[in-house]
């Protein structure tokens, strides 16, 4: 009875021992794995002593001598070191769990994978899902997580055109930027006015494109229509053509004095009896610029909704409508009781992503009229939304990087908060299959 003779491995002991990574594995009899963990730890410790500790020090002080110390680089290096340390801590947790798991396995099965070959095979079998997702996480770590982290940190500094490294040092200023944004009169009025228009813009433009998309899908899905394919091709054109092309073209067409809308469309309208419209100041009056922007976004964005809703409509069974006919339902009842609930059920989460898209729809605001006309203070024009204001704060002649970062954080909190709430409301999470 070999198993009975064999000494039991203590799970607790294996876990405690692997606080020095690798020792727990060696205790379990997995020498190779243990050495691998030990080597990884050694590399991290060497990195920590030579690069890491100075990086953390620099991160805390952000430099003491101008020119010699580049505050921005110190901030970024500190952030990178935080990520590296985080990865090491994750490895530590993984390693403790592994040592415990293997000790348990040893106690029940009586043996463990010792050879490099069997360990690799085990990793391939159980680690395959991790292997496939590593590239996604790796890219996101550097292109999303890292920049977002740096932005988050920058919001708590005084990085602006008075403090451009390396000639000047940057300092931590705590919540000063947020206090300025919410309480300093000059910035507060800009922030409130830009945020107000951003919300109005998001609601009107997105609702416009969803309404037109649903309406077009419902109307063009009726059985009797001749030339469905032809109409479909036309309706998809605004989506097919790169958005910057259409936005810049519209920008030209909406020119107050020489643009085609005033010159051709409005003068054509005036041929209709009893109609008299004078030229509209599309680019110089904030109200009309806003109107034009909402109309253009509706034009640009409805095909996406149209395609999706058409797909949903074609999947609604005919008998539902036949049953409704027998019950004597009228058109409006059929639409509100059958069609609309079906569409909303299937596409609500996508509608939400459309709202977040428009909340951050930089291209149309900037390329149509550069956020103008006029000025609402703080460098923002009267049609600037938060994202285009950030762009101006970052790229203008007197950049306000820290303030821009603070605005970015406020945006992110708004968008994530509202989306998560709505996702919860629409029960996107409760779908068992999805999660």
């Amino acid at each position: 009875m070999e198993v009975q003779k064999m000494k039991k491995k203590s799970v607790r002991k294996a876990g405690l021992l692997s606080l020095i990574p690798g020792i727990g594995q060696i205790y379990n009899g997995q020498l190779l794995k243990g050495i691998a963990f030990l080597v990884a730890t050694a590399i991290f410790l060497i990195e920590l002593v030579t690069i890491g500790i100075p990086a953390f020090q620099g991160f805390i002080t952000l430099g003491t001598v101008p020119i010699r110390d580049h505050s921005l680089f110190l901030l970024v290096k500190g952030t990178l070191q935080i990520i590296i340390t985080f990865i090491f801590v994750m490895m530590l947790i993984l390693n403790v769990n592994d040592a415990k798991k293997v000790a348990k396995q040893y106690n029940t099965l009586g043996n463990v994978n010792r050879s490099a070959r069997s360990i690799l095979k085990n990793m391939w079998e159980n680690g395959f899902p991790y292997l496939l997702t590593i590239p996604a996480y790796f890219v996101m770590l550097f292109v999303i997580v890292f920049p977002v982290l740096v932005t988050l940190l920058m919001a708590f500094t005084n990085y602006d055109f008075y403090h451009i490294p390396p000639a000047k040092l940057i300092d931590w200023v705590g919540l000063q930027n947020f206090v300025n944004m919410f309480f300093l009169s000059a910035y507060r009025s800009t922030f409130v006015s830009v945020l107000g228009w951003t919300i109005i813009w998001t609601l009107l433009a997105t609702t416009g494109q969803i309404a037109l998309g649903v309406l077009t899908a419902v109307i063009s899905n009726q059985k009797f229509i001749v030339g469905k394919k032809f109409f479909r091709i036309i309706f998809l054109l605004p989506w097919a053509i790169p958005a910057f092309v259409t936005i810049m073209s519209f920008s030209n067409m909406f020119n107050d004095s020489i643009g085609a809308i005033n010159q051709q469309v409005i003068s054509l309208l005036n041929y209709i009896p009893y109609v008299h419209v004078s030229d509209i100041p599309w680019k110089t009056d904030p109200f009309w610029t806003k109107t034009a922007l909402i109309m253009i976004q509706t034009w640009l964005g409805f095909p996406y909704i149209f395609v999706m809703v058409t797909g949903v409509l074609q999947s609604i069974p005919d008998d539902l409508y036949e049953a409704a006919n027998i019950d004597g339902a009228n058109v409006i009842q059929k639409f509100t009781k059958i069609t609309l609930p079906m569409i909303l059920f299937a596409t609500a989460p996508v509608f939400i992503t459309q709202y977040t898209f428009n909340f951050n729809n930089f291209s149309i605001i900037y390329l149509f009229n550069s956020g103008g006309p006029g000025d609402v203070g703080g460098g923002a024009g009267s049609t600037d939304i938060l994202i285009s204001w950030i762009y101006k704060l970052t790229t203008g002649t007197s950049p306000q990087y820290a303030l821009a970062s603070a605005v970015t954080i406020v945006i992110s909190i708004i968008v994530i908060g509202v989306s998560l709430l709505t996702f919860k409301k629409t029960h996107a999470f409760s779908n068992e299959e999805m999660m």
Binding site: P129, S249, A404, A428
Partner: protein, 283 residues
């Protein structure tokens, strides 16, 4: 779906009339701005504003100027290089991740999915300063590969969700029977699931390809020298300067860049519906 209105004959005529009126008016609203841009591309080059002119004299002068006097061909090539590399890298990463989240049940899966959903809502392009500093440190400013990676990263979260939604609609019975026959992870992925997911992969490829063509913000910010610019940034110069507006040349450049994209779009648009609704109904 049955006709929306159907009771009496007059009613029926009226509803059909309204339907066609709606379709035709909407078509005109879509066609007019496009037609006016296309026509301006062939109009005389001293044009200051787009106009629709039935008596216009058609000419190719704008295109000749575009090729001889501007860096348009270079911009076109730059955009192509960036778009194609973005497409290849992004499609590979997204397909692998979407497949994994659809097919495997593993520790951290749910948290991973929520992470993808939340990170997709962060306006990463607002982190302009961070990109600039990152580019400065790793020597990526004014380099295609850096911009490409930024595009790829930005597209991963949302598209992984759509990809996962599509893989969810492919039945798992095939995987099971292949596994019983002794097929490993890779065979099941490459020989069974990938061919079935081709429609969605095509859609993803198209969107990833179109992304860099439509973006202005990041390419304007990260690519600084004129010979490294993308078409969007280059063309914007033609109409941004109020003293030297080259509207007709802008129209010609826009026309050329739109043609290949529109053709690709319509070749692949059949796949959109299945791709979108698969991701939509589940997501």
């Amino acid at each position: 779906m049955k006709a929306l209105f159907s009771s009496t004959k007059i009613n029926r005529f009226f509803s059909r009339f309204c339907t066609y009126l709606f379709l035709i008016v909407l078509s005109i609203i879509i066609i007019y701005p496009l037609l006016i841009t296309v026509q301006s591309a062939f109009n005389s080059s001293d044009l200051t504003a787009f106009t629709l002119d039935p008596h216009m004299h058609w000419t190719l002068a704008n295109f000749k100027q575009l090729f001889s006097q501007t860096l348009y061909l270079t911009w076109f090539k730059n955009t192509m290089v960036i778009a194609i590399s973005t497409m290849i890298i992004q499609v590979i990463i997204v397909t692998l991740a979407g497949y994994t989240y659809s097919r495997y049940r593993f520790k951290g899966r749910k948290n991973g999915l929520i992470f993808f959903l939340v990170i997709q809502m962060v306006p990463t392009m607002a982190a302009l300063t961070a990109y600039f500093v990152l580019g400065l440190i790793i020597n990526g400013l004014d380099q295609y590969w850096f911009l490409t990676m930024v595009y790829v990263g930005g597209g991963i979260p949302m598209n992984t969700w759509l990809m996962k939604g599509y893989f969810d609609t492919i039945p798992r019975d095939l995987d099971e029977s292949a596994r019983i026959d002794g097929a490993g992870h890779l065979r099941i992925l490459l020989q069974i699931n990938l061919p079935l997911a081709m429609p969605m992969i095509a859609v993803q490829a198209l969107w990833a390809f179109m992304g860099p063509f439509g973006d202005y913000l990041l390419s304007a910010f990260l690519l600084r020298s004129p010979e490294h610019m993308t078409v969007a940034v280059g063309l914007q110069q033609f109409i941004a300067d109020p003293t030297n507006q080259r509207v007709a040349m802008f129209a010609a450049g826009s026309f050329l860049i739109s043609i290949p994209i529109v053709i690709l779009f319509f070749l692949l648009q059949r796949n959109f519906q299945s791709g979108l609704t698969a991701g939509g109904t589940k997501g």
